[in-house]
């Protein structure tokens, strides 16, 4: 199969191949070269070589193999120039004549998976700031271009390039080993990986400022990363738990805002016909995989189980609030936080009545970490409204409106604060 066609088509094909192949390629090169920077440079050189040569020679029959062998040759050149690295250069050269690993060869495939898993852990290394981990993960594991990562996080491409370079330098200077953490280290390091993936998902799920409400492409990127992780680390319940949580939350993307006005729609008011039930089924299947692992449910699996309760309910009245309360009890133990307590209070208000919920919300009134957190007064306002205390509810909604930075949400909260008045568009 050779590709003729416009230079533009070839570039698009190259980018598609890149997105699919670059994580594995960079992982392989990092292991053999012992340097993430060298690996990425070599891979990038191969990309640019393809950009120059494919329009002239046509798209190769096996584009992945072409990129791999080209990158390896670049890496060998660099290693040879570093006289201390001649041994590595020789090792790399020995593998150069190997054909692209046959996908039938499970041994080779597993070796690639091992490399990929090592790359995952290095991208999410605790030495790096969370911002840097996210940037490195999207760039190296997600196969996104630097400008795409920059756009996703609303920074300039130059700033993102600097962030990524600094991150790689930090890893190189600390001589971080290219390995999967062992023993007791593994759980904590895996936690940091899952945190990065979920961060990306949340960026897409609920932009917190400006006029935007969702950026679906980031949710997709996170979902794909999570699914890849589930394949690489199938024995880890929390990986399946996170995937389950993301699949079920993603199922609601189309229902989360009013298509006409753009206003956000709370969970209990969403049109469940617009929930993606395929994704809900996938989420439930992932949750089952999580539960099949030994040990109690971790925080992600618990959150997924709560999301599953909503996903299973055909209408809000079918929601098993008692079960949700029990799950929040478990979550509060596994992962205590004031936000979890607030969500638990909402569930209690549904299971045991608004008065019971109000008691729990009031206990959070002086919680310092919730001081600027708009859902706290919003939830209190909601419960007060259900108790018929409308004037007090209005005060809470107005307060919540001042705390949110999301324009559409602010308008919604103001409307609840002044239900009978005519609001102009400002």
């Amino acid at each position: 199969m050779s590709g003729s066609g416009s230079g533009d088509q070839i570039q698009r094909t190259l980018e598609a191949v890149w997105r699919i192949e670059s994580p594995r390629l960079i992982a392989l090169l990092t292991r053999v070269c012992g340097s993430l920077e060298l690996a990425e440079d070599a891979a990038q050189d191969a990309f640019e070589a393809a950009l120059r040569q494919w329009p002239r020679d046509g798209i190769p029959a096996n584009p992945a193999a072409w990129l791999t062998s080209t990158a390896k040759r670049r890496a060998i050149d660099v290693l040879r120039r570093q006289s201390t690295q001649r041994r590595k250069a020789a090792e790399l050269g020995r593998g150069l004549e190997d054909a692209q690993p046959d996908l039938d060869d499970l041994v080779e495939a597993r070796a690639i998976d091992d490399d990929l898993l090592r790359l995952v852990f290095i991208c999410c290394h605790p030495l790096l700031s969370v911002d840097s981990r996210v940037a490195l993960t999207l760039r190296l594991l997600g196969g996104l271009r630097t400008d795409e990562v920059a756009r996703a996080f609303l920074v300039s491409e130059a700033a993102m390039t600097r962030r990524i370079s600094r991150a790689k330098r930090t890893l190189a200077e600390a001589r971080v080993p290219f390995e999967v953490p062992q023993g007791a280290d593994f759980a904590a390091r895996l936690g940091s990986v899952l945190q990065v993936v979920y961060l990306v998902f949340n960026e897409g799920y609920s932009a917190t400022s400006g006029g935007d409400w969702v950026r679906p492409a980031l949710c997709e990127d996170a979902l794909r990363l999570g699914r890849v992780l589930a394949g690489l680390a199938p024995d880890e319940g929390e990986v399946h738990g996170l995937v389950a949580l993301m699949e079920i939350q993603a199922s609601r993307l189309a229902a989360r805002h009013d298509p006409r006005t753009g206003a956000p729609v709370p969970l209990l008011e969403q049109d469940r016909g617009r929930w993606d039930h395929l994704l809900i089924e996938r989420g439930l299947a992932s949750l089952e995989r999580a539960d099949a692992r030994p040990g109690p449910r971790g925080p992600y699996a618990l959150q997924a189980a709560i999301a599953a309760c909503h996903g299973r309910a055909r209408t809000p009245d079918h929601t098993d609030w008692g079960r949700i309360v029990a799950l929040y009890d478990a979550l509060a133990e596994a992962n205590p936080s004031p936000v979890v307590e607030l969500n638990r209070a909402v569930a209690v208000s549904m299971a045991d009545g608004p008065a019971a919920g109000l008691e729990l919300v009031d206990a959070l009134a002086d919680e310092p970490t919730l001081a600027g957190y708009h859902p706290l007064p919003a939830v209190r306002g909601d419960i007060l409204e259900r108790l018929g205390r409308s004037d007090e509810a209005a005060v809470e909604f107005a307060r919540a409106a001042t705390l949110t930075r999301n324009e559409a949400e602010r308008r919604l909260l103001l409307a609840r604060a002044h239900p009978s008045s005519e609001l102009d568009s400002s």
């Binding site: 698009r12 598609a16 039938d104 679906p216 805002h257």
Partner: protein, 126 residues
Amino acid sequence: MRVMIFAKTTPEQESRTHDASGNAEMGQAMARFSAELNAAGVLVSEGALQPSSQGVRYRTGGDDAPTVTDGPFTEAKELVAGYWLWQVRSIDEALEWLRRAPFPAGMTLELRPLVEMPEGASSATD
């Protein structure tokens, strides 16, 4: 974005008797390919359809009664034999995956992106 991929066949291909061992080999190759798609986080859903002899066509009649026709649909130019639903960054990525699929020559696959929420279309004041 999500893309639906329809594997097409013809009434003539449907009615041809199949080589059992060839089918088994193809089945294995397809299973490996699906596993690769799954491992990449691309595969969302898939299904093989029974031949149209097992199918039914329903044509709405408006005020008149609907028309129900049992298969096979020998008049059709093309029939759907199977489907995939993939999560990809672009049509180009989907095409690249298709190039890696173990299909025999001459097979037609139709790629159709789903209607989905456009990026950033949610705010009414933009």
